[in-house]
């Protein structure tokens, strides 16, 4: 059965922060619980009915009291709100130098791809001390990537990219759970996060004999799916060149513009007609069903590698928000 513990391990920079906030809320909650329970207990004993004929004097409500017991709790809740929101806000802002890792949830496993091409299922190896940014999506239903020791959780939603980040502070092995009910083997959609000393991590990376980096695999797909026939690097085809696209603002036919981020690239592959670049015809076929979510991520990474700037350039405002194709 194991030993009984009351608080989970703290293994990320967020964990102690969230716990401090929890201690504050616990203090407030215990205080009010004691006040209410104490008052009820005291009044119930002190003013117990001694005769059935008793008629208490009417105590009229006091506005002053009402104000006191509205304003004080309200003030306390505003502290809770501000404190909690500030942690949440930082949780939605991955640092620029974070290590990118791609996660695809599917019934009932977590499929993970590293930038250098290592792939894992239901396991995630990461180096100690480095900020890790996850980009998540799902192939089927909604899942949720939950690491209690890090105090972070983010839904992986089909049709969208969402992000989550954390910086591990302690080497070790930690639970990974799917927290959004996803069908039969929901409780089997679990795994382990291995936080490793940097040198162990390097050894692990090289030991994994990857099949090429994500961008390389993306380049291969770009050939295999014949994207390259149209999207010529010099822009001479009937399609726009993708060189230097990532992070740029794209003018759309029919007016409007969109920032070329991961979600836009994904959408352009799967629903090309949704947003057509100004000056081009909607002739691109959809690749829905022809390429997996992981393949799309590789393509995205390939497009990113064509410049102009690395991933971290994505506007911070996207953060945890994720972005729906077509909805902003």
């Amino acid at each position: 059965m194991g030993t009984l513990r009351l608080f989970p391990e703290q293994a990320s920079t967020f964990a102690p922060e969230v716990d401090h906030l929890l201690y504050f809320l616990l203090t407030v909650a215990v205080f009010f619980t004691l006040v209410i329970f104490g008052a009820i207990f005291y009044f119930a004993v002190r003013y117990r009915r001694r005769s059935d004929q008793e008629l208490p004097h009417v105590v009229h409500g006091g506005m002053a009291l009402e104000i006191v017991w509205s304003v004080i709790p309200f003030g306390l809740t505003m502290v809770m709100f501000t404190w909690g929101a500030s942690i949440f806000f930082r949780e939605s802002r991955p640092p620029d130098d974070a290590l990118n890792i791609y996660v695809v949830g599917k019934q009932w496993m977590w499929k993970i791809q590293h930038m250098e091409g290592q792939r894992e299922i239901n396991e995630l190896h990461i180096p100690l001390g480095r900020a890790i940014k996850l980009t998540l999506t799902s192939e089927d239903v909604i899942h949720s990537f939950f690491v209690p020791a890090f105090r972070t959780k983010q839904d992986a939603v089909p049709g969208r990219y969402s992000t989550s980040w954390f910086q591990p502070t302690k080497a070790g092995k930690y639970h990974l759970f799917c927290a959004e009910y996803c069908g039969n083997r929901h409780s089997g959609m679990i795994g382990w996060i291995y936080v490793m000393e940097p040198q162990d991590y390097q050894a692990w990376l090289t030991g994994e004999s990857p099949t090429g980096s994500l961008a390389d695999n993306g380049a291969k797909l770009f050939q295999d799916l014949a994207c390259v026939n149209c999207h010529k690097a010099d822009g001479t085809g009937r399609c726009p060149s993708l060189v230097g696209l990532f992070g740029k603002t794209v003018q759309l036919s029919g007016g409007g513009s969109v920032k070329a981020d991961e979600a836009y690239i994904r959408e352009s592959i799967l629903q090309p007609a949704a947003k057509v670049v100004a000056g081009y015809q909607p002739i691109m076929p959809t690749f829905q069903g022809l390429v997996t979510e992981e393949g799309v991520l590789q393509l995205v990474e390939y497009v990113k590698s064509l410049g102009p700037k690395p991933a971290a350039e994505t506007s911070p405002a996207e953060g945890i928000t994720g972005s729906t194709p077509g909805k902003r």
């Binding site: 059965m1 030993t3 513990r5 009351l6 608080f7 922060e17 969230v18 929890l22 809320l25 407030v28 619980t33 209410i36 329970f37 008052a39 009820i40 009044f43 003013y47 117990r48 009915r49 001694r50 059935d52 004929q53 008793e54 008629l55 208490p56 004097h57 009417v58 105590v59 409500g61 009291l65 009402e66 017991w69 809740t77 505003m78 809770m80 709100f81 909690g84 949440f88 806000f89 089927d140 239903v141 909604i142 949720s144 209690p148 972070t152 959780k153 839904d155 939603v157 089909p158 969208r160 927290a179 009910y181 069908g183 039969n184 929901h186 409780s187 953060g319 945890i320 928000t321 909805k327």
Partner: protein, 541 residues
């Protein structure tokens, strides 16, 4: 049958006989009893599912049932409890029976519609029961898409249709209450003389009428996607899965107040009667019900903090959630202050009222935790949330419902329940409840996700405690079931006003005549003026 009770006098139970006189009745009191029987069945059905869930969770490997079955069990537990027990519970049974009597009316404004709404609940219930017997449903009571529309191959549509139909029952009850309170108050019964139970049901009725149609629309959309493959929620069909969550919670957050506001109303009656004092800050307590009803519509997004909702939306919803916490806190403080210098009786209904305040306080305070963004990211979809809403819905609503049942039982049946057994079971329920659900807060913060059939071994101790508590709780609920039935025949005859309470429902015989009052009461006092009901007075306080 109840009819054997008091033979001398004619009252609503013996005014007519036979199955037809019940199934075609337009008497709000009889309809209240029909509801009572219906929701009791669903309560024990939901309870049976819960029992299996708790037994299953005794061991981490999940040996008792398969994961398919487990998922169906928690889904059907939620569906039965939320849609067929908690939402109708207090308004449709106690409210139906007493709301007209408390305002001095002979019936609700639309007696036939009242009967219709009971039939709708039964038809909806049968749909969902059919789904359960035919093989069950496994989406969770929340029906999140695209799982429910594309991936689940269980009886989603039958269940959802049952909920759809039951929703109309809820809308019609709400409508009936609103019109009744507006148009059928006795002479002298001004708005600020209304008992707080009436205020609470009135506020609830507003939510029922305004919120439930959104649930209906959501179910129709779910139907369109699941049956006709019209892309609304599934991204593969071009839909947006998170849209469903917005629609669902736009109803279902207000719905949590449909479940708890009437309970607050009951508790106001109990606290006042058993301390013989008007509720401290009567007007503030009355208005806070309305405030909750309105603010409750503005916070649905607090269920979506990690769902890819925008960060800024998350902040707004967190902020607004704290606003809705304040009127709830105000009520707790006012109830507590009412006890000050009161004449406090420890009759069973009051024990339940104490239990309610205690457990609702814990449920409400943990609401502050889940409304807090930094904390909710960690605890959402864990047992922490499970514990939070059980403290509110079981610790709050069901405690109040039990308190109300004991309080009004003599009026409804003309018989007293056995006091010693009742006190004992109130205590057993309180202890069993805490043992069941308190460990779940710890489990949740430790990271135990909800809806898990199999779980890591380190969580077992807390699960075993919880299951132990659940067995105590089950005993606690079984005892009243038995003595209530026993009391119908053997209970002491109840006087008209056994508690020295002030409500108009106590100014008529127990059980009341078919038309409630021999003559229309005229109200000359504020609510809760105990000088009018106590004979020879000993002044205290």
């Amino acid at each position: 049958m109840i009819t054997a009770a008091v033979q001398e006098r004619e009252h609503y139970l013996n005014a007519s006989y036979g199955i037809k006189s019940w199934l075609l009745t337009k008497d709000h009191k009889r309809i209240g009893l029909l509801y009572l029987a219906t929701i009791t069945l669903f309560f024990f059905l939901g309870g049976a599912f819960a029992t299996l869930i708790r037994i299953e969770l005794l061991t981490p490997q999940g040996g008792l049932v398969s994961s398919e079955t487990y998922n169906k069990l928690f889904t059907m537990h939620g569906v039965a409890m939320v849609f067929f027990f908690l939402i109708p519970s207090i308004p449709a049974s106690l409210g139906n029976f007493f709301l007209p009597m408390m305002i001095g009316a002979r019936d609700l404004a639309f007696p036939r519609i009242n009967l219709l709404s009971w039939y709708l609940l039964v038809i909806g219930g049968l749909f969902s029961l059919f789904a359960m017997l035919a093989g069950g449903v496994d989406t969770g009571w929340t029906f999140y898409t695209p799982y429910s529309t594309t991936y689940s191959n269980t009886w989603v549509i039958a269940t959802a249709l049952g909920i759809f139909v039951a929703g109309f029952s809820s809308i019609l009850t709400g409508l009936n209450f609103i019109v009744t309170v507006h148009t059928m108050r006795a002479p002298g019964m001004t708005w600020f003389r209304l008992p707080l139970f009436v205020w609470a049901n009135y506020a609830t009725a507003l939510i029922q009428v305004l919120g439930t149609p959104v649930l209906a629309v959501t179910i129709v959309l779910l139907f369109c996607e699941r049956v006709f493959h019209i892309g609304i929620f599934d991204p593969v069909l071009g839909g947006d899965p998170v849209l469903f969550q917005h629609l669902f919670w736009f109803y279902s957050h207000p719905a949590v107040y449909i479940m708890v506001l009437p309970a607050m109303g009951v508790v106001s009656e109990l606290i006042s009667t058993f301390s013989r004092k008007p509720i401290f800050g009567y007007r503030i307590v009355a208005c806070s019900s309305l405030a909750i009803a309105v603010l409750g519509f503005l916070v649905w997004g607090h269920h979506l903090f990690v769902s890819t909702q925008s960060v800024y939306a998350g902040m707004v919803f967190s902020f607004l959630s704290y606003f809705v916490a304040i009127p709830s806190a105000i009520k707790v403080f006012n109830w507590t202050a009412t006890l000050y210098k009161g004449s406090i009786s420890y009759a069973t209904p009051m024990l339940y009222a104490f239990g309610f305040i205690g457990l609702f306080t814990i449920g409400g305070l943990t609401g502050l935790f889940v409304a807090c963004l930094g904390i909710d990211v960690h605890v959402t979809d864990t047992y922490f949330v499970v514990a939070h809403f059980h403290y509110i819905m079981v610790g709050g609503t069901i405690m109040a419902y039990m308190g109300g049942l004991h309080y009004w039982w003599p009026k409804m049946t003309g018989r007293m329940y056995p006091e010693a057994w009742a006190k004992l079971s109130a205590l057993v329920i309180f202890l069993g409840f805490n043992l069941t659900f308190f460990p779940q807060f710890i489990l949740g913060y430790l990271g135990m996700p909800r809806r898990y059939h199999v779980y890591p071994e380190e969580f077992q101790i807390l699960h075993v405690l919880s299951t132990a508590g659940a067995s105590v709780l089950a005993v606690g609920y079984a005892i009243p079931m038995m003595y209530f039935i026993w009391s119908l025949r053997y209970g002491k005859l109840a006087p008209a006003n056994p508690w020295g309470a002030t409500g108009l429902e106590w100014q008529t015989a127990s059980p009341p005549p078919a038309h409630n009052f021999e003559e229309t009461p005229v109200v000359t006092h504020e609510a809760y003026d105990y000088s009018t009901v106590i004979g020879e007075v000993i002044e205290v306080g």
